[in-house]
């Protein structure tokens, strides 16, 4: 019998524009871009040049900080541009995609016979290792640091997130295969987490070889760090791996069929999308191809196109590209309007964690929230807000203060290894003083991750 963990703290932000469970084909992308900037702590080095022909599965770049794995092309075509920023930082590799995708010839591996190291090497060489990330830090896992657990969340609790089961439809065999591979490669227990209400009852028992844990409660119950905190908290020096369920299936496809699956099924959502649906697209698709022939609401200040969800996603614009791990594109109205005596208005149309607006009388109402800040940055004043949306035995405000003062020992004491920037997204949302805490946690993790990378480089002297 699966264990159920009830979480009370958190918040489901009620947004308009949820995707109906109909699947549409995105028009074939003209260009795709794979962006090293989607990876945490990466020091990318390109393996291709403009003009090179690539196949689906051809390595594009690797990470000098974690040189074992390759990031591969999801499509076949021609590299048209190696995009670089200031100081020649690699920003992306742009590929002009073929109309029909040709896959690279990938040697097969016998997953039953191969040992864990050989299997890991295989995943690294052919692009699937990039799907395995680690807590803490959210960087791609180091193949030689074994985790204490692997988490595969089968639900996403973020606003307007897709149903993971819908993303997995027809891929259950590959999903099972991927779980088996993860179990072997990690040598650790694999936890499949589902939600008591948003997952179907039989889903958890439809796979084998995993420990099934059920979560109940609002967002951020789907966040891996929250789940790990309640399954087995991460101590200093410990790691947990996590892989998005759809990507587990892609690992399974690679091992079972010897081809890299470059597809990405995603939910196209948000109040500015006229007909929110699920879309079958390619990893790294251009927004232009995803949005082609789709109607958007016209709004006073235009729309914001977000790769990912409204709390943690990236604003990419119409010219942008889908993020590496994103299974959701959210489009909401920009909100640069000024409201006359807005602070005194009854606020039937304002969504708030507090009950200072009359909207609290209609708890199930859904909102077309804009990108408006609803205020200005202030010194930290109101206490108790962050704690309401932070379902862990961690003091978020005190941890942020330790980050602010650069006190690493205090950060460790207060649980810096158990959290991720995304766990602070609701704090950031709810903050009366509009303090942006995700970037603070990101910066703290970058520093600690940098130390980890350095310690792996230096030869150890005794």
């Amino acid at each position: 019998m699966a264990k159920t963990i009830h979480l009370k703290k958190g918040l489901n932000i009620q947004l308009l524009g949820e995707a109906s469970k109909t699947l549409e084909q995105a028009s074939a992308p003209e260009t795709v871009m794979i962006k090293p900037t989607d990876f945490v702590g990466i020091k990318p080095k390109t393996l291709v040049q403009a003009g090179d022909e690539v196949l689906a599965g051809t390595p594009l770049f690797f990470d000098k900080n974690n040189p074992a794995y390759r990031v591969v092309s999801p499509v076949s075509g021609e590299v048209v541009e190696v995009v670089r920023g200031p100081k020649r930082v690699l920003l992306g590799i742009k590929i002009l995609a073929d109309k029909t995708i040709r896959s690279a010839q990938i040697p097969r591996i016998d997953a039953e016979q191969a040992d864990a190291d050989a299997l890991a090497e295989y995943l690294c060489a052919h692009g699937a290792w990039a799907f395995i990330r680690t807590k803490p830090y959210d960087a791609v896992a180091f193949p030689d640091i074994k985790p204490k657990a692997v988490v595969v969340p089968a639900f996403d609790s973020a606003p307007l997130a897709p149903s993971i089961e819908f993303l997995l439809e027809g891929k259950m065999e590959a999903f099972q295969k991927g779980l088996d591979v993860l179990s072997k490669v990690s040598g650790a227990p694999v936890y499949l987490t589902t939600h008591a209400k948003s997952n179907s009852a039989q889903f958890g028992s439809s796979v084998s070889g995993v420990e099934h844990v059920i979560f109940d409660g609002p967002h951020p119950s789907g966040n891996v760090s929250v789940q790990m905190h309640h399954i087995s908290p991460i101590n200093k020096g410990e790691f947990a791996w996590y892989v998005q369920a759809e990507d587990v299936a892609r690992i399974g496809t690679l091992v079972a069929e010897g081809r890299f699956d470059g597809h990405r099924r995603l939910a196209l959502v948000g109040s500015s999308v006229e007909n929110p649906v699920y879309v079958d697209a390619i990893q790294g698709s251009s927004m232009a191809s995803i949005l082609k022939d789709r109607k958007l609401q016209s709004t006073e200040f235009g729309n914001r196109i977000i790769s990912g969800n409204v709390l943690t996603g990236d604003s990419v614009g119409e010219e942008g590209y889908l993020g590496f791990y994103h299974h959701q594109v959210t489009i909401i109205p920009e909100g640069k309007h000024r409201e006359f005596f807005g602070w005194a208005a009854p606020g039937f149309d304002k969504f708030s964690l507090s009950r200072t607006f009359f909207s609290w009388l209609t708890p199930s109402k859904k909102y077309a929230l804009t990108t408006n800040m609803h205020g200005e940055h202030r010194a930290f004043v109101v206490t108790g807000e962050y704690e309401k949306v932070f379902p862990m035995d961690i003091y978020p405000v005190q941890l942020l203060k330790a980050i602010h003062t650069g006190d690493i020992e205090m950060q460790e004491n207060l649980g810096i290894y158990e959290v991720s920037p995304e766990d602070f997204a609701l704090c950031e949302f709810a903050c009366t003083s509009k303090i942006e805490s995700q970037s603070m946690v990101r910066a703290a993790h970058d520093l600690l991750y940098g130390e980890l990378v350095d310690s792996r480089k230096e030869p150890v002297h005794h």
């Binding site: 101590n235 602070w343 964690l353 009950r355 990108t371 609803h374 200005e376 004043v381 035995d393 649980g415």
Partner: protein, 401 residues
């Protein structure tokens, strides 16, 4: 509102970076964001944000104080006419009180916001909404006849020494309004304590034998014989208690009516702005200490305050007002949920100890809250340390177990 918006938008460039009045940007921003919510969009982090901001939060607190303010105006007039032994209509009492209280409010806001603006211009940061609440709290905890220059001095002291030297709103250690109150109490004791100050406009002409002592002091002096009390007299203890609950007793402008304060408490709790943990634990702490001390009343019959029924402490004096509006100030209270319980409970305990065991200081609540303001970071430190110890223990089990 288009024309007004256009005016604001037309003026904006002059105050913005490179404009001729750049120095006065905080002033402009303060007024502009008062009229119109700022039109900023998110640019990093979460793309959507909660509708709440500090202006909304502070307006809710002010809204919660309005019942106490209005009742206070009425009661100032009521006490005045009662002490003179004159009959007066409801509106006369209210207008008399309003005439006394409004200048206090105007001076408090005028002086306080003036100081804030000056500091914001010097430091070049935006006007913080914190003083909107302090500015209303200060007149509510003052006696109605307080000379306005004293109030102005207290406000300047509180804002400069109590807040700005620490870095402004959000950085202060002591509650700003109570800092003002404490300044008055220690600098001008004759005007803020004793038996002459709680009733407005009656210094020389009270009816014979009428005393304007606080209700609790009179109650203790007479040993609970409410009919023999020197000022207002009451038919029965129940009548006395009821008057205290409604608020028809002498006292600071806004603190007498437990009922009006309870309405405010309901608003604060309902909106989630005020910490129910603090309000509840202050009440509990006061009751607990009250019952404990009450148990000793037989042993020490000399101290009349020991004999006061413990729940009287909640109803009379500044206890309820302090619990609801002062102790809950998020900047100066404990920040951790567990810390809030401890902080609140100790405020209640200390307030009653000071009241009962040291009647020379009738300001038990003020002193208790200020003391616990100072102690709040210490409480949080130990609460957080508990969390740290749990984590270290877990780490030791993981590495050695």
């Amino acid at each position: 509102m288009k024309p007004l918006k256009r005016i604001v938008e037309n003026f904006e460039p002059h105050f913005a970076e490179g404009g001729k009045w750049r120095k006065y940007w905080p002033l402009f921003d303060g007024f502009a964001t008062f009229l119109f919510t700022p039109g900023h969009a998110t640019h990093k982090g979460a793309h959507i944000r909660d509708g709440i901001d500090l202006k909304r939060t502070m307006s809710m607190v002010i809204l919660a104080m309005v019942p106490a303010l209005l009742f206070g105006m009425y009661n100032v007039g009521y006490q005045h006419f009662l002490a003179l032994g004159e009959q007066a209509a409801f509106m006369d009492m209210f207008l008399y009180g309003m005439w006394k209280v409004l200048p206090l409010v105007v001076v408090s806001y005028g002086v306080g916001l003036g100081v804030e603006f000056v500091f914001c211009i010097i430091k070049g940061h935006q006007i913080n909404e914190g003083y909107l609440v302090s500015g209303m709290l200060i007149p509510l905890v003052c006696p109605p006849d307080l000379p306005l220059w004293m109030l102005a001095l207290a406000v300047i002291f509180a804002v400069v020494i109590g807040k700005e030297v620490f870095g402004g709103t959000g950085m202060n250690i002591l509650n700003v309004a109570l800092t003002a109150r404490a300044f008055l109490f220690f600098a001008y004791p004759a005007d803020i304590s004793g038996d002459k100050v709680w009733i407005s406009g009656v210094s020389n002409q009270v009816v014979n034998g009428y005393t304007g002592e606080t209700a609790l002091a009179q109650f203790a002096k007479t040993g609970g014989d409410v009919a023999a009390m020197g000022g207002q007299s009451f038919a029965s203890q129940a009548d006395f208690l009821w008057s205290g609950f409604i608020g028809l007793v002498p006292g600071s402008v806004g603190e007498t009516s437990t009922l009006a304060i309870l309405i405010g408490a309901a608003i604060l709790m309902l909106t989630g702005i005020g910490s129910w943990r603090i309000m509840a634990s202050v009440t509990l702490g006061g009751l607990a200490m009250g019952y404990l001390l009450n148990g000793f009343s037989g042993i020490f019959p000399d101290n009349a305050y020991l004999a006061i029924p413990p729940y009287y402490h909640l109803i009379f004096g500044g206890f309820a007002f302090g619990a609801v509006f002062m102790a809950t100030d998020p900047v100066t209270a404990s920040q951790t949920p567990t810390g809030k319980y401890i902080y609140g409970f100790l405020i209640g305990v200390l307030a009653v100890i000071i009241r009962v065991l040291n009647p020379a200081y009738p300001e038990g609540m003020m002193l208790a809250i200020l003391f616990m303001n100072v102690m709040a970071p210490l409480i949080d430190h130990y609460v957080v340390q508990g969390n740290i110890n749990r984590r270290l223990k877990r780490l030791n089990v993981a590495t050695h177990g």
